[in-house]
């Protein structure tokens, strides 16, 4: 039992921290936002060069074989600088699904390109009516002589506008919320009948609604030939949620540091705000929330490859408590910044928005508490 980082992990964390501090300060982010540009291709290449895109991918296909703990460290650094990259959508969700369920041919085709930074993949699974129930898939896939035909609609697809491929879930058989009968399909973004409605995303990046109207895909488009992909969907979603938990920890850390610096220097009635014990105690509670989040994000990562029920309990526990803790920290960071906190002039608001994004993604506090309780029910019965 040793939860201190290895030398390798420490170096990864430090290099990520350095990169983010150098490139992701407030000015750079504001300039990019004002220029209205998406995520920079140059930075994505730098991610590839630093090995980050290859990090969790299998070594057999150009990856480094890292685990959720390493991903969490990277994400924590991203969170500290509010990096708005398509890392989670392409590497964790998209490539993660390919790595978990793709045939050897699909893996060999796609994963090295992701690792090199030459391919981006979006993950199109959620549907509006599903309300975070991962088994609720109304989009359907029908097989005919030429391959597959997909019809349906997806929501909350991250970074689809700049993706080359989409992994789309669709029901092959069964009823709408059945656990069985869901497949994952590889679809080019420019497939005929596939439409994107892209909006700015709260907290940075883009989000799309995806329409699928008679989208024709080849017979080999079904990922791994798998007609029961729900366990894969659950696993990559849990991995992505764990990664976002790591990112949230980084955000919380920055919020606490920024706010502490502010109340130490901002004067009122001739004294720094930090003379107010009520504010100091608030900040103590914020610091406690960060430490608890750090422990639970790490715990979720450590359980990422455990038995599904243990993995899911660890991830839902982390997602619920960090969801609440991050909201508390971000809202209080705004509060303690006073008037300046509620403007776009400071970065605090951008962090709060990303926190709301975090909480909404894959389900909020109530959803994950309920999932945790449901997964625990058997163990609690007499």
């Amino acid at each position: 039992m040793d939860l201190t980082p290895t030398e390798e992990q420490r170096l990864l964390r430090e290099s990520a921290g350095r990169f983010v501090r150098a490139q992701y300060n407030a000015d750079a982010r504001r300039k990019r936002a004002e220029a209205g540009e998406g995520f920079s291709a140059a930075t994505w290449r730098e991610f590839a060069d630093l090995g980050w895109l290859a990090l969790p991918l299998p070594e057999a296909h150009g990856g480094l074989g890292g685990g959720a703990v390493e991903v969490g460290m990277l994400m924590e650094a991203f969170g500290e600088g509010l990096v708005d990259s398509p890392y989670v959508s392409t590497v964790i969700l998209g490539a993660g699904a390919v790595a978990a369920a793709g045939s050897s041919a699909q893996q060999a085709d796609l994963l090295p390109k992701v690792a090199e930074g030459a391919l981006r993949i979006a993950f199109a699974h959620s549907e509006r009516q599903a309300r975070y129930n991962l088994a609720d898939v109304a989009t359907h896939a029908v097989k005919d002589a030429d391959g597959w035909v997909l019809d349906g609609a997806k929501t909350a697809v991250l970074d689809a506008d700049e993706a080359d491929l989409l992994i789309v879930s669709a029901r092959i058989h069964g009823n709408r919320a059945d656990a069985k009968g869901i497949g994952l399909f590889i679809a080019p973004r420019d497939a005929e009948g596939l439409t994107l409605t892209t909006d700015l995303r709260l907290g940075g990046g883009k989000v799309a609604q995806v329409g699928l109207a008679g989208v024709r895909l080849g017979a080999d488009a079904l990922l791994g030939g798998l007609e029961d992909a729900l366990p894969v969907i659950e696993a990559v979603t849990d991995h992505a949620a764990a990664a976002l938990c790591g990112e949230a920890v980084g955000m919380m850390q920055t919020l606490v540091e920024t706010t502490a610096a502010y109340i130490k220097t901002r004067e009122q009635f001739g004294k720094p705000l930090s003379v107010n014990q009520a504010l100091r105690h608030r900040m103590a509670d914020m610091a406690v929330a960060v430490e608890e989040a750090r422990s639970l994000a790490l715990r979720a990562a450590l359980f990422a490859d455990a038995e599904p029920v243990d993995r899911a309990r660890a991830v839902s526990g982390a997602k619920a408590k960090i969801g609440r803790g991050a909201r508390f920290v971000a809202e209080q960071a705004v509060q303690l910044h006073g008037g300046m906190g509620v403007t776009e002039e400071l970065e605090i608001g951008a962090f709060l928005k990303r926190v709301v994004f975090f909480d909404a993604m894959f389900g909020g506090v109530d959803h994950h508490l309920k999932r945790h309780a449901a997964l625990s029910a058997a163990g609690r019965a007499a």
Binding site: D199, L202, Q335, G339, E345, K353, A360, D366
Partner: protein, 397 residues
């Protein structure tokens, strides 16, 4: 003790409802419903102000000689409650509720004659010049200087958080006319024509993406001495008088209830988050509803005390604190009900000017409103300041 309205009060309520049914147009209601900012836009509030003025109802708190309707506290409560229930815009408070009472109490006959009718009839649009970048809760530390030059003051400095300065043609401001004594002394209360040379306005966007507040710069702005309210150096007294009005809060329960109903409406619809039949959501709605019930009954207790000539005590801080906290709880719950739709960020303003958006119209204001509502516990006396006051005045600490 009597928990129902009298026949006269019921008749008045009927009159208010009839007025609302005819004067409050569907367009006004839609625009107000799609307003995620704290204040209604001028183009929303002005038509409503005029409709009220034509009925003689624009300035509920004013005495009859100034054009007020001489309502009882119960009538004021009924009026505010019915307006909130109906989804009416709010009238810009800076004129009617803020500078108006100061002019009525401390103004010269000439000032009253000049400004009050223009406030009442929505001819002037006012903004408030109190806060400065360095002042925060320590308002009296303000630095904007007014130096006497003949029959003018020459003003230099800057004000911040100036709501609707970009709409206003008049500002009432606290300025420093003397800095030799205590910081509260040497402050004067002055009325500034916003079209004066030397004024520049810098917009400040809120985290909700709205242009509501501004920073205003004064560069040798000349203001006639006759624009000063009361005595030079007593501005702090007048300003505090006004702040008591601002903090009053008073009649907020009905507006909160409407906000909660908006959450319920969304949860009954297609929003992809928590649906109305989610037990956890039902409990949270109940919690907030009970909070509103408590606030409403507190308002009615205060209204009853006022009605019978009693002093309701130091409760305005309590009302402000709870109103702002409940408002924030409602907007947070609304975001939960949005689910994945909370990810869509619509930057266009005003929202009621949008022809089409990815989100259903009912969902459009939710996230900006959640973000903007963070200001409720900051402005007009932060929650920390309110707790200081409550501990002092209600607990005696």
């Amino acid at each position: 003790m009597n928990f129902s309205f009298s026949d006269e009060e019921k008749a008045f309520r009927e009159e208010v409802r009839e007025f609302l049914a005819s004067a409050l147009t569907p367009d006004m209601k839609r625009a107000q419903g799609l307003t995620p900012s704290v204040f209604s836009d001028k183009e929303i509030s002005d038509p409503w102000h005029r409709a009220l003025a034509s009925k003689g109802w624009a300035a509920p708190g004013w005495p009859p000689e100034a054009g007020g309707p001489t309502w009882t506290p119960a009538q004021r409560w009924i009026f505010a409650t019915e307006c909130a229930k109906a989804g009416a815009p709010s009238v810009s408070p800076m004129g009617v509720a803020m500078v108006g009472p100061v002019i009525i109490r401390f103004g010269t006959p000439e000032q009253k004659a000049k400004y009050l009718p223009r406030i009442l009839n929505c001819e002037d649009y006012w903004c408030q010049g109190y806060s400065e970048p360095g002042s925060g809760s320590d308002l009296a530390s303000l630095k904007t200087r007014a130096v006497r030059d003949g029959d003018h003051y020459v003003i230099n400095g800057t004000k911040i958080w100036t709501t609707h300065a970009h709409h206003a043609n008049m500002m009432f401001a606290l300025v420093r006319t003397d800095d030799t004594g205590r910081k509260q002394e040497g402050i004067s209360f002055i009325l500034i024509d916003m079209t004066s040379p030397g004024i520049t306005i810098r917009p400040i966007l809120t985290i909700g993406g709205d242009h509501e507040v501004n920073q205003v710069f004064f560069d040798d702005v000349r203001v006639p001495v006759e624009n000063r309210i009361g005595e030079e150096g007593l501005g702090w007294t007048y300003g505090k008088y006004l702040l008591e009005f601002e903090r009053g809060g008073g009649i907020a329960a009905a507006r909160l209830r409407r906000g909660l109903q908006h959450v319920i409406d969304m949860a009954n619809g297609e929003a992809p988050g928590q649906p109305i039949d989610d037990p956890a959501l039902a409990l949270k709605i109940s919690e907030i509803e009970i909070d509103i019930d408590a606030l409403e009954l507190t308002e009615l207790r205060i209204m009853s005390a006022l009605q019978t000539g009693q002093n309701p005590g130091a409760v305005s801080s309590l009302l402000k604190l709870r109103n702002s906290e409940i408002k924030q709880a409602i907007t947070r719950l609304a975001v939960d009900v949005l689910g994945y739709d909370a990810l869509v960020w619509e930057p266009t303003r005003p929202l009621y000017g949008l022809n089409r958006a990815t989100l259903p119209e009912i969902e459009l204001p939710v996230v900006p409103e959640y973000l903007n509502s963070r200001a409720f516990t900051i402005f007009g006396g932060s929650s920390e300041v309110q707790r200081d006051i409550i501990a002092k005045l209600m607990v005696g600490l």
